[in-house]
Symmetry: C2
Subunit: 538 residues, 2 copies
């Protein structure tokens, strides 16, 4: 479950497949549907099984053992650290959370009017968004299966649909030679139309006779006619699915479909199809969700549940010392040095930051931390004076894909039909993100706008009210959007982080199969909490 | 734009194609992307063109002509009638709306706790939904391009996403021999996987050499590998896209993909692919929307904007008389007969009801009205004591498709993670709807539940709190879900309805290319208003 960007399917499909794919068992299985019942997916009368069951520590756990809850210092107030303190708190553990930044949440970071940041290059920005406008600089979406939604339910954080896919959004591959953007619906109609035409004709010519039976070919043909909207001639010649130049309306106005249909050669050369598999991915398929009001409603709710008095912000940890009977954590706050003594520690800093923090956890831990390679990602929020993408383009959310270095444009999933709205003008990763990060905020805006104008025209520039850009690799105390662990989190190199180092436990999305997702942070924290609690009870 | 059910693409794809398809122009067009700029879809720097421009009548229109606004009686307070009165009201026309039912909205009908109906078979139901729970008995979704959304904006009706498609929802084709439901995501992975395998192998074997160039085949192959998640061997052997039995989580839990992968033969025989094209259709592709709080927020807002004093409910029209200088409409209200005199009339009743109303508009009008054939559709709302589809199945909205006579199951697009929720337990049409309508409400519930249990197990029965069912063909004063006009609304048979009959104008979704959609009613009303206003100004 490696997530490197919206286009995780494009960027990492092959490695994910080789890593995760289970060898399929096909054919020769007796009755037609002998295997259908084994498809998993909630056989009749059973609910779907999910991630391994997690039993939160509870006060009652101590009753039989005669033991008591311990004192735990949690280093890092991102999702993993907050989740650990929250779950341990249910059993009465005395937790203290140390967070270097001025707020909890870590990379779960929502920017609203007045919020200010200074990056490692020295750029200081203060957001000038209107009331109600915000941008999620870090995580922005939650798939239905991730435990993040369970925490939203448990914590009372209302959710709404995150619009991850929209037939009305555009695709624009400038490098591939496209002269104008096409809508997703148009691109899909054309690609699927030609795929259906080519396969149905191959079927018709007997090219598949050795692979599937005549009866199966008949069924395949039936599917393809519908899938590609091709007629009985099996020729793709366009389809109402492409969209209309003039919409169907009252009698007298049957509508006028949009312009001439490109040839198969033109369609495949345009590369529009490279984005289609994104929505098939397990972690990106609709429906997706977001908290109402901003992603940081989650850390805000966790912070309230833990208790603000247990959380120290502006507290930068400088040293973690495992002793014979506990852990000592040294941190600076307001220019002064403090220490916290605890029975256990959960180290929930990003590994690249932890690697720069003094500790006595040994060289194996240090090597493992250094082997976690930080990645880059950036976003710019563009607040507009009007929601022209809704009124002029009928785009009420979703994502436009490009091969320009802005990569993705996200239309807002909130505030539909309101007065103003905030587009994510770029969400990019790797060298594209680094290139934007190297610019001043004003230059980033200019570059993003110049590219967006190619898709949306002058309003993309003229309606702009304000912008705010954020880059994770250049963010103090985090310095990464996510991390790359060669071979995955269970590779031998990372073994020292998947167990306690003395009385110190490690947690974070990097130690999961859902890196860059809050689900990874939550489940990693649950794993650490479970191990710590078992040890306390033992 | 014929909409007969969720499965319009399946039911009417062929006729729609033949009616609406514009002959495509392919090939031989010079430079690779010569035609790409002509794709329509908002060329750079231009917003998309939409339906023909509508200029609402305004008070200023009368200034130059020296004329004044006229008196108009609007027969029927559904969307078409309300829209006509609303638009005419902007110019100061003196409108009176006559509505036979106790509320405005027509088929835009939202049922909440305490609402009561009696159908033509004599079944009386009173809804016993919890606070905040509702069901939209009629229209439930709004595509982005329809003018319905513009009215929501203009009238201040907040909208939210209608979840028309969900990778986590199920497909269950019992008649096709499926022994258990499969999730959409699983079905798609399998169908697209095998389609990619078959076409890529045909490409590899040279079966397409006469159709597309080697370079195009290379690009096609690249697409297919990604589209079907097939490796370099071009074999489909499953994919993480199918979903997981145990979800990927923390280190140590890479996840376990769901069960054995069915053969191509099994997949095509199951017929799961027949539902995939639904979401490509111009009128069904996500993103879709609904008003927050119920679809009837739209007629409620129109009613407020028109002014309640201009609207008479419980007023069943019995006669429409076109006179030399005006129109006289006779109606009964509270057992008494009344008449309204006006300069013009907009007849916005369903055609099947209008055909049963006395009038002097001539035999051509009567024949045209009788040629509009009423269709059937029904829904049942099932309120549950818990939202088990979210907690147990991770289904936060969307539609489960079946070949059982319940047809579609809709999971709610509102109230996510709340205490209770209301599923549409069937949304069916034609003979399926008629069969359910013939049952008592209790029998309808029992039949819907018995089928739903096959997909979701016992909780589908045990968690049920209450139900409410509604059938349009059996609804007094409406008696149709929508109408079938042979040859479309511009066929010669319907010409008498597309012009004024004396001083009477006709409006309704049936007189549009978006029948069964509010868009059809709105645009038809706009057309009638435009014609009437031009005549008044002339």
């Amino acid at each position: 479950m490696t997530h490197t960007s919206n286009n995780s399917s494009v960027a990492t499909g092959a490695s994910r497949r080789s890593f995760l794919r289970q060898v399929g068992i096909t054919g020769g299985a007796g009755a037609m549907f002998a295997t259908m019942g084994a498809l998993g997916v909630a056989p009749t009368a059973q609910a779907a099984q999910r991630e391994p069951a997690f039993h939160a520590p509870s006060k009652g756990d101590f009753t039989l053992t005669g033991k008591g809850a311990a004192k735990v210092v949690v280093v890092g107030g991102g999702i993993a650290g907050l989740a650990a303190a929250y779950e341990l708190g249910k059993a009465g553990y005395d937790c203290t959370v140390l967070e270097a930044r001025s707020r909890t949440g870590g990379r779960n970071f929502t920017v609203r009017n007045g919020d200010s940041t200074t990056d490692l290059y020295g750029n200081t920005q203060t957001a000038r968004f209107s009331e109600g406008q915000y941008m999620n600089c870090g995580p922005g979406r939650i798939p239905q299966w991730m435990v993040t939604l369970d925490y939203c339910r448990e914590l009372g954080v209302p959710i709404e649909v995150f619009t991850n896919v929209n037939a009305n959004a555009y695709i624009y591959n400038e490098k591939a030679g496209m002269k104008a953007p096409v809508r997703y619906r148009t691109a899909k109609a054309d690609v699927y139309g030609y795929v259906a035409e080519l396969l149905s004709k191959a079927t018709d010519k007997g090219a598949l006779d050795r692979q599937i039976t005549a009866e199966d070919q008949e069924r395949l043909l039936e599917f393809l006619k519908d899938f590609g909207d091709i007629g009985d001639t099996l020729d793709y010649t366009g389809s109402p699915r492409r969209g209309y130049r003039i919409d169907p309306a009252a009698a007298g106005t049957p509508g006028e479909e949009i312009g001439s249909v490109p040839s198969a050669s033109e369609v495949f050369a345009s590369g529009v199809g490279r984005y289609f598999a994104f929505e098939f991915e397990y972690d990106q398929a609709m429906l997706m969700f977001q908290p109402v009001g901003g992603m940081d409603r989650i850390p805000a709710a966790l912070t309230r549940a833990i208790g603000e008095r247990r959380i120290r912000t502006g507290a930068a940890v400088s040293k973690i010392t495992d002793t014979a009977h506990g852990v000592t954590v040294t941190y600076t706050q307001g220019g002064r040095t403090h220490t916290v003594e605890a029975d256990y520690c959960i180290a929930a800093l990003p590994p690249n930051i932890l690697a720069k923090t003094a500790h006595n956890l040994g060289p194996a831990v240090q090597s493992a931390l250094e082997a976690c390679k930080p990645s880059s990602a950036g976003k710019i929020g563009l607040e507009y004076k009007s929601r022209w993408w809704e009124t002029d383009h009928q785009i009420y959310g979703g994502i436009t894909e490009t091969d320009m270095d802005l990569s993705h444009i996200w239309y807002p999933s909130y505030g539909h039909q309101g007065r103003r709205g905030t587009i994510i003008g770029y969400y990019n990763t790797g060298s594209n993100a680094d290139a934007y990060a190297a610019l001043t905020p004003r230059e980033r805006e200019a570059r993003a706008i110049a590219q967006g104008v190619k898709i949306h025209g002058d309003k993309y520039r003229t309606e702009l009210a304000t912008s705010f850009s954020h880059h994770w690799r250049q963010t103090p105390y985090l310095e990464a959007s996510w991390h790359s662990l060669s071979g995955g989190p269970d590779a031998p190199a990372f073994a020292p982080l998947n167990q306690a180092a003395g009385r110190v436990y490690f947690a974070g999305d990097y130690l999961s199969y859902a890196d860059a997702w809050q689900h990874g942070a939550f489940t990693s924290a649950r794993k650490a909490v479970t191990a710590l609690h078992a040890r306390v009870l033992a």
